[in-house]
Symmetry: C2
Subunit: 197 residues, 2 copies
């Protein structure tokens, strides 16, 4: 039952995207605060009540659903014995390869963030799910005692990845499979900045 099969599921995915596109275009046109959930629902052709069946709140509709490790990747990670960071980045590569990224939507998000920097917390907050998953993977290596360290590492990785997403959205020549590499370069810079400790 892992694969989405039915018409129902395909429609659900389509509606999710339609709502997000409606939310983004309205926010770009009128500003985030001026957009109401009722406007988004109307634009997406659904009722306000149904809007809340799809997204928990207005913020979630803007950023969409975050990607998520599949069991296969988790299993690979647990089996591998390479260096922690290299394995985490490899897991992220698989994650991104699996999820079909929509550069158009990412561009809209990026433009919105440019005009409304106060939305940045919402955007980076949407990476929380991913961050928690990275942290969970890291904990399997470092042990439960090092959970806080794992979370700190995961935070840095997720942040670097978020930055890279925005670069990718605005650079049509950059292929999606280079995202993790660029993020790794950012982590290298961070490593250098921390060297003086």
């Amino acid at each position: 039952m892992a694969l989405k099969s039915t018409l129902r599921d395909r429609r659900r995915l389509q509606t999710l995207r339609e709502i997000q596109r409606a939310a983004l275009s309205l926010a770009l046109r009128h500003g985030y605060d001026a957009v109401t959930t009722e406007m988004i629902a109307a634009q997406a052709g659904i009722s306000q009540r149904t809007f809340f069946n799809y997204y928990l709140n207005k913020d979630a509709a803007i950023v969409g659903e975050a990607p998520c490790f599949d069991e296969e990747t988790v299993a690979w990670f647990r089996a591998s014995s390479g260096p922690l960071l290299a394995d985490l980045l490899q897991a992220l590569r698989q994650l991104l390869a699996g999820s079909e990224l929509d550069r158009g939507t990412s561009q809209l998000i990026d433009r919105l963030l440019d005009t409304a920097p106060d939305l940045l917390p919402i955007f980076y907050g949407s990476l929380r799910r991913l961050r928690d998953q990275i942290a969970a993977l890291a904990v399997t290596r470092l042990g439960e005692d090092a959970r806080r360290d794992a979370e700190l590492l995961a935070e840095a990785i997720a942040h670097a990845l978020g930055d890279t997403f925005r670069i990718w959205a605005n650079d049509d020549t950059m292929p999606a499979d280079r995202i993790v590499d660029v993020a790794r370069a950012k982590l290298q810079v961070l490593h250098g900045l921390l060297a003086q400790v």
Copy 2:
């Protein structure tokens, strides 16, 4: 006009704290979601309307006002030419020395976070102001081109500091002036984890 002097300002500070204490104790007793702004206002002896004159929203009342670099510290940082990270940590030391930390309140926050982990984003979000200030300081050294790197570094520092706050809240034997040192140790660990890049 830098020093708060008048009765009015002292009362304001007192009310700010009273509201926060009310919010925290109510949240610990009934759970965050079950607490309304009206309840907090009643407990603090003010009207609901006045509550919103003090805090922008319910979240802000829980975490209280974040500390903030004073001009003196900023001036020192800009004049200094030591290693970036060392200077940032030194600035944070001055910041913490200036702000009178209330371990009791921090303990309440920590206990609340234990019972309601979904409040963690609110807590770490409250460090955003501090993170932005750290990033701004770092940008004066690294240059505007490296803003994203500065922000990534600031994020890591703020996160480590937040973790350390929780440790400090629960360890009565730990003096406040060791907070930055422990945070630095956490950053050292992060540096080690990033070494494999």
